[in-house]
């Protein structure tokens, strides 16, 4: 009897469990099916035609919302709906680029409908999308709908379109970078210089003297020989966005490692295999041996390399102007009495200076081939650009009151403490995922503001430049004044055929050889073997393919 009772109970339990599992399954099936009504138009309340533009985007941690608001309901969407008659609809979001690209890739290979507008930075994915025929050329739309000032910017930076140019047709609108925003300059411990009675460096030789003093004359005064001269990152290449070593190579020639720049005949050549790189490596090798560099430089990436500087164990780091906030500010906070000043990059023996130049674009905006409202898109685009051009009827004092500013006695106040519920950057809600930029514009303005000491004219100048503090403005000015020394990576296309096949091997060989040369584990002449091997194992083909690409995007046959 007892057994049977137990069995019944068991059956009941089973039935309810199966039911539950099914219910969960059905729920999961229901949630994310929403009809994607691209290009649909609907009536807004006051009778105007409301155009829907769908998109997808990454939603990173630094994008904050007020309570009750989200990516489809925030000041930007409300503003676009009311002022422009555009209903912006974000179909889905991803927390990081990797997942975002995976979703786009999945949509591409499974034949799903793509959003109307979306941004992609990955060169290969851009190329795949264009070749799939699912995104459309924007040449005509730019001609017809872009406002004169947008056209002017587009014409000024034609190479910004190269990542999405195929067979002479442009398929994307660039999301510009700051142009020189992440170019580096030297940040040096001024208190160490003063203590040891040294002048800031003008040349690489000066720099060597300073590094020697920083290593051997105990600048931090703790009686131990535990300081290094220069903080460099090398794990991801020696020319990079933080703890950058590109200036060492730039002092000896017009090339930086891992970057395609114009050779003497005007065609693109690969930086890492140029003879001047050998001179730069020889210097780094010498500096490593003398203890100027971190002993662990080979395993340090950008984030781990800065530790030595932040801990007050290193005297010099090459970092962009925004480095003033991080990591420089951390270094000052951690080391009482520390003074860190920005200085121009030093020159080589024959007066040469060079630095890694940031690319012009952060990504490309692509458009679903069925998207019909390019006119509305450009209207929106021009409207958000009006914020930085200081002629906005929408953003006179700032972006959105109560978010990035408040009005007090008829004057805008930007102080975060005065804004109820704190400051939130609504620029992150734009399609551009940040306040739009025009290459070089920010540092040009910074230089103007710093040298003329004039008052900021608008919210953009105030929040993006003046409120960032004096060191930032000074650094931006220095970087801007050294713009002629930029060595930009001119190859912005998808990986070529041979790159896909052999690129991994070549990169690995390059990193390994450079690291071993710096560590003195192989003779310097190993560089020549590397160049030879690079040419022979696919480098020549890659160079050919890169130049074919370069000619095709420039419209030459």
């Amino acid at each position: 009897m007892k057994m049977i009772g137990g069995r019944k109970l068991f059956k009941k339990l089973l039935a309810s469990m199966t039911g539950m599992i099914m219910a969960i399954g059905m729920l999961a099936g229901c949630t994310d099916k929403e009809p994607t009504s691209s290009n649909s138009t609907s009536q807004s309340k006051d009778g105007n035609q409301l155009v829907t533009i769908t998109t997808a985007r990454t939603l990173k941690d630094d994008t904050k919302f007020r309570q009750g608001e989200d990516v489809n309901n925030n000041p930007v969407t409300r503003w676009a709906e009311k002022e422009l008659g555009i209903k912006l609809k974000t179909l889905w979001t991803a927390p990081n680029d990797e997942q975002y690209y995976n979703k786009i890739r999945l949509a591409l290979s499974s034949g799903q409908e793509l959003p109307d507008v979306f941004m992609v930075s990955d060169g290969l994915l851009i190329n795949d999308l264009i070749r799939s025929g699912k995104v459309m050329s924007v040449d005509k739309a730019i001609e017809q709908y872009a406002s004169p000032r947008l056209k002017e910017i587009f014409n000024k930076f034609p190479e910004a379109f190269y990542p999405a140019t195929v067979d002479g047709n442009r398929y994307g609108i660039p999301r510009f970078s700051g142009g020189n925003g992440s170019d580096s300059l030297l940040w040096i411990r001024k208190d160490w210089l003063d203590k040891l009675g040294l002048q800031p460096p003008k040349t690489i030789e000066d720099l060597e003297k300073i590094m020697d003093a920083f290593v051997n004359q105990d600048p931090d005064g703790n009686g131990k020989k535990d300081t290094i001269g220069l903080t460099l990152a090398s794990k991801n290449g020696l020319a990079t966005w933080l703890a950058d070593g590109s200036f060492v190579f730039g002092a000896y020639g017009n090339y930086v490692p891992s970057s395609w720049s114009k050779g003497e005949d005007g065609s693109l050549v690969y930086g890492s295999v140029q003879p001047s790189i050998k001179k730069g490596l020889a210097k780094l090798r010498e500096w490593y041996e003398k203890g100027y560099l971190d002993k662990e430089i080979g395993i340090l990436d950008e984030q781990t390399a800065i530790k030595s500087f932040v801990a007050g164990k290193s005297g010099i780091i090459a970092a962009p102007p925004w480095g003033a906030g991080w990591p420089i500010a951390d270094a000052i906070k951690n080391n009482p009495g520390a003074i860190v000043e920005p200085y121009p990059l030093p020159s080589g023996s024959d007066g040469k200076i060079g630095r890694r130049g940031e690319g012009l674009t952060v990504g490309m905006f692509l458009f679903n081939k069925n998207f019909k409202h390019m006119d509305k898109f450009f209207e929106y685009w021009d409207a958000i650009y009006s914020y930085i051009f200081n002629d906005s009827r929408y953003f006179k004092y700032g972006l959105f009151e109560g978010y990035d500013y408040v009005m007090k006695d008829g004057q805008p106040v930007y102080d975060p403490n005065q804004i109820p519920r704190g400051k939130i950057d609504p620029g992150k809600y734009f399609l551009t995922t940040d306040i739009p930029t025009v290459p070089y514009m920010l540092y040009n303005l910074a230089e103007e503001l710093y040298t003329t000491k004039r008052k900021p004219k608008n919210a953009y100048e105030y929040t993006k430049i003046v409120s960032q503090g004096e060191p930032y403005m000074k650094a931006a000015t220095i970087v801007n004044q050294q713009n002629q020394y930029r060595i930009e990576n001119e190859f912005s296309g998808p990986p070529t055929k041979t790159m896909q096949k052999r690129g991994e091997f070549l990169t690995k060989m390059e990193r390994e050889t450079f690291a071993n040369i710096i560590y003195g584990r192989v003779p310097l002449s190993e560089f020549d073997n590397f160049v030879e091997k690079w040419e022979g194992s696919g480098g020549q083909e890659i160079t050919k393919e890169v130049n074919e690409w370069y000619r095709s995007v420039k419209g030459e046959k």
Partner: protein, 316 residues
């Protein structure tokens, strides 16, 4: 007579089995269903993607329209020395890991078994098990700090004890594999220790009593009773790890390696990651992955056969 009864018995069992299948247990099978569906969707359907290895795959063309290239990608794999090097690295690292991940926990379990203070035994067991729950992303950061030649704790101890030059563990080709194996054993040995300890406790105490009567000391008891009784579980653990022979630990290596130790530390998985995800050569990466799976499969089957043949033990 005898055979007839035997036959009858057999028929009965067959019948009951059938009935069991049809009636009594459908609910149990229903419970299994979601798991089977999930496994089918996420483990079996993606296997069709393996056709990529024989194609020149282009994402917008899909599996159906990409052109076929036969064994091209497999040829490439053996043609270039870099691929051969990573296969070799993988084998060396994973074989070392398999050996030490068996030997160390086994020794440890035997030693721990001799501890009579329960509190101490439990505490040690827990402490040893703890690193298993840490991810390599975190451990990678910690290890880089600990093994640093500039003020890392390991080098500080070594230099003060033996007065030797600091060793750059993570940047030295002679040391990197050792570091990988030792840290992996340190992280994972707690898990196998618990498995082995469980096996020891399940040994029939009567065997020990008999041995003691025969005058065996503790060492002899271990050699002649504990170890033979544990053999099946050792074989199971060993065979299961054989399947991982080409998984030398992607998370671990990715978080610890660097250009200085590519020569000894680069393994198949990190190679595939760079080729496939960073360079976008999906077909080639799939080919390498498929190669890896086939080898693992063969090894698992062999291990299973050997275990059955020599230890008369069926794992599945």
């Amino acid at each position: 007579m005898q055979t007839e009864i035997d036959l009858q018995e057999r028929i009965v069992t067959v019948k009951t089995k059938k009935r069991w299948n049809l009636k009594g247990s459908w609910q149990l099978h229903a419970m299994l269903l979601p798991a089977i569906v999930v496994v089918f969707i996420f483990q079996y359907i993606p296997m069709f993607g393996l056709v990529m290895a024989f194609q020149d795959y282009e994402p917008w063309l899909g599996f159906l329209n990409s052109s076929w290239v036969g064994l091209e990608h497999f040829k490439t794999m053996f043609e270039y020395e870099d691929a051969r090097q990573v296969i070799w690295n993988t084998l060396v690292i994973s074989i070392l890991k398999i050996i030490f991940n068996l030997a160390v926990p086994l020794t440890f379990a035997l030693l721990l078994n001799e501890v009579y203070v329960m509190k101490f035994k439990r505490t040690v067991q827990t402490i040893v098990y703890l690193p298993h729950f840490l991810s390599w992303v975190i451990l990678g950061g910690i290890l880089i700090d600990m093994l640093s030649p500039e003020g890392g704790i390991v080098n500080s101890i070594l230099t003060s004890l033996f007065r030797i030059e600091p060793i750059f563990f993570l940047g030295d080709n002679d040391w990197f594999r050792t570091v990988v194996v030792v840290t992996d054993v340190w992280k994972e040995c707690g898990f196998n220790t618990i498995v082995f300890l469980a096996a020891i406790t399940s040994i029939n105490p009567a065997l020990y009593e008999a041995a003691i009567v025969d005058g065996a000391n503790r060492w002899q008891q271990t050699i002649y009773i504990t170890l033979p009784s544990m053999l099946p579980i050792i074989i199971v653990v060993g065979t299961l790890s054989l399947g991982n022979i080409l998984n030398a630990g992607f998370d671990q290596i990715l978080n610890l390696y660097n250009p200085l130790v590519y020569k000894t530390g680069d393994i198949i998985d990190t190679y595939v990651y760079r080729v496939g995800l960073l360079n976008g050569d999906f077909s080639y990466a799939t080919a390498v992955g498929l190669f890896k799976s086939v080898i693992s499969f063969i090894l698992v089957v062999t291990g299973y056969r050997l275990a059955y043949k020599y230890a008369n033990y069926k794992i599945f």
